[in-house]
Symmetry: C2
Subunit: 210 residues, 2 copies
């Protein structure tokens, strides 16, 4: 697993700003997963997952190094939340503060920005529409009877991601098409936030009934 | 039912630009529904439904007259599709042409624009996330086991809309909260278009599995 500064991440002893326990506590329970700098982690990876904060993703991937990403499949699970741009009439968030706005959106997406920045990498947008705890454990909700979406320009890369998701227990995988369709799943962000606030939890997911 | 020019609408004999049969054919099969100008239709209405093209909705409602809308509940079912702004890298649409972009979005919504333009009207965003044929006939898909969302600032208005939807057979009504949450359901547009293209039809809907 890659991070900016592995020693600093492992050295923290208190919870982070969102109240999450320090990484060292998680690390102790998962001794098979080692933490490294972005570049070292990416160099060894067969398949990459971008789970960084969306507003910082391109910079984090640049720190990993284009050479270490080239030729590989990258699952982009991030949402380009912008917490800094003020909005005259903000939508409320589940946390009491104004909801972050999406940037980019509509005419572009984070997935497309990453693809343009790293053209030798095969970007597949996926698992960005649901809570982290369900991404690799879909059967924890309704026996797995809900939907995950794929967007990407490389058919082989999408097939590889589909196989991985199927191995995690996903049954409802829908291939939306080209990477531009990632705008669709990224733009579900305000509905996701509104639902989290209305329901009072994140143990939910979208299912396409057809 | 209100339109700009009832005589002209009823006088058309050929299909429209989307290939839809002329209104007169529908009108013949539904003699209980009369067509009138916007203002006459709104003046008589107990409850209003905005089903105009989103980019023209505020103008159409202005033509109906603020006085004729005042104090009433208005269900806003429209999507603010902008077919005119060119996009460097457009997302494909189900119709072969580039998909329309959303305008407004992110920091505003059509529902909020309507509410600001007609402050004495009680705007409730609803049924804007699914195909027209399912809005009043939800049980035609999966026995009605899918979701419709409400957004609005007036609790009484939302309760009235919920009762109407329940009468149509809707079971999965979720109240998202304030009208600002209409940004969430309006911004589902690109995902809806991508799904229509990927599935090849519009006989689908979102269900929130929880």
């Amino acid at each position: 697993m890659g991070t900016r500064d592995a020693a600093a991440a492992l050295g923290r002893t208190g919870p982070d700003a969102m109240g999450t326990a320090p990484f060292a506590a998680w690390s102790e329970r998962h001794p098979a997963v080692s933490l490294a700098g972005y570049a070292a982690a990416a160099a060894e990876a067969e398949l990459l997952i971008n789970a960084t904060a969306g507003h910082a993703s391109v910079d984090c991937l640049a720190a990993a190094g284009a050479r270490n990403l080239a030729g590989k499949v990258l699952i982009d699970a991030a949402t380009p939340n912008d917490f800094t741009t003020p909005v005259a009439h903000p939508m409320p968030s589940p946390w009491g503060t104004p909801a972050p706005i999406l940037n980019p959106a509509i005419t572009d997406s984070l997935a497309e920005q990453i693809q343009r920045a790293f053209p030798a990498t095969k970007v597949v947008k996926a698992v960005n529409t649901l809570a982290a705890h369900l991404m690799t454990d879909p059967t924890a909700l309704a026996g797995g009877d809900h939907t995950v979406f794929l967007s990407g320009d490389d058919a082989g890369a999408k097939a590889q991601v589909r196989d991985l998701l199927t191995a995690y227990g996903w049954q409802g995988v829908i291939d939306l098409g080209e990477l531009t369709t990632a705008r669709g799943t990224e733009m579900i962000q305000p509905l996701y936030l509104a639902l989290t606030r209305a329901l009072g939890h994140e143990h939910f997911d979208f299912k396409i009934v057809r």
